[in-house]
């Protein structure tokens, strides 16, 4: 099971691949859309990639609550448990 740091690093790899986000910018307080400039289509791709990478399911209803990197790290951390 991945630690919070490993989850954040994994997310940074996904965000760099899909949306060209610099890994150093992927911090817990950063909002995907407002701060990291990830558009809504890219967000869908990021969610699917995260599901595959961390072997979890993120239902569509939950995606809208994942506003920041910290939200996503916490969600994935809990979903792995």
């Amino acid at each position: 099971m991945a630690s919070r740091d490993e989850i954040r690093t994994g997310l940074a790899e996904i965000l760099e691949e899909i949306a060209d986000v610099a890994p150093d910018d992927v911090q817990d307080d950063k909002a995907f859309i407002d701060d990291l400039d990830v558009d809504s289509l890219s967000m869908v791709e990021v969610v699917v990639a995260a599901e595959e990478k961390f072997n979890i399911k993120i239902p569509d209803d939950d995606v809208q609550n994942l506003r920041t990197v910290g939200d996503a790290v916490s969600y994935i951390d809990k979903a792995q448990a």
Binding site: I18, D20, L41, V44, V48
Partner: protein, 184 residues
Amino acid sequence: MAVPSIGVVVTGLGATTPLGGDVATTWEGLLAGRSGVRPLTQDWAAQLPVRIAASLAQEPIEKLARVKARRMDRSEQVAVVAAQEAWADAGAPEVDPIRLAVAFGTGIGGALSMLEQDDILETKGVRAVSPRTIPMLMPNGPAAWVGLELGAKGRVSSTVSACASSSESIALALSTCCARAGTT
């Protein structure tokens, strides 16, 4: 049909072809009588009775930003690479976006993306299908990307008519100019 009374000036050329990744190399290859036909060595071609084709000499992704390229079908990548060269060749002029139009022909459009996403649908399920599938497979995708890249807001149109697509797109461009000039 009335003969258009406006003149047409070709101000820039762009190409990425089986002979080269730009106009200069393509022209040089033509003058040298080189063939752009080469063997198809990919796995998917192994079952084909004919395994030669005039495939591109240079992969378009070599000339595009990585993330932008992954959002495009190959047909769109090729269109943007050629259009960027033509635009640069024309001196990348400052143009009022409303007066800038794109007419771009394609035989099929994003067939590769359609096939790839269908494979993903079959193997990984519907959630894994890219949300960019439609903009990648639609036949007006190449024209749309060129329009976005150049900031064209006049008119962005595609002709899809097999081998005549490019000829028809030139005719469409001419009729667009004529309509603008009020000659038809």
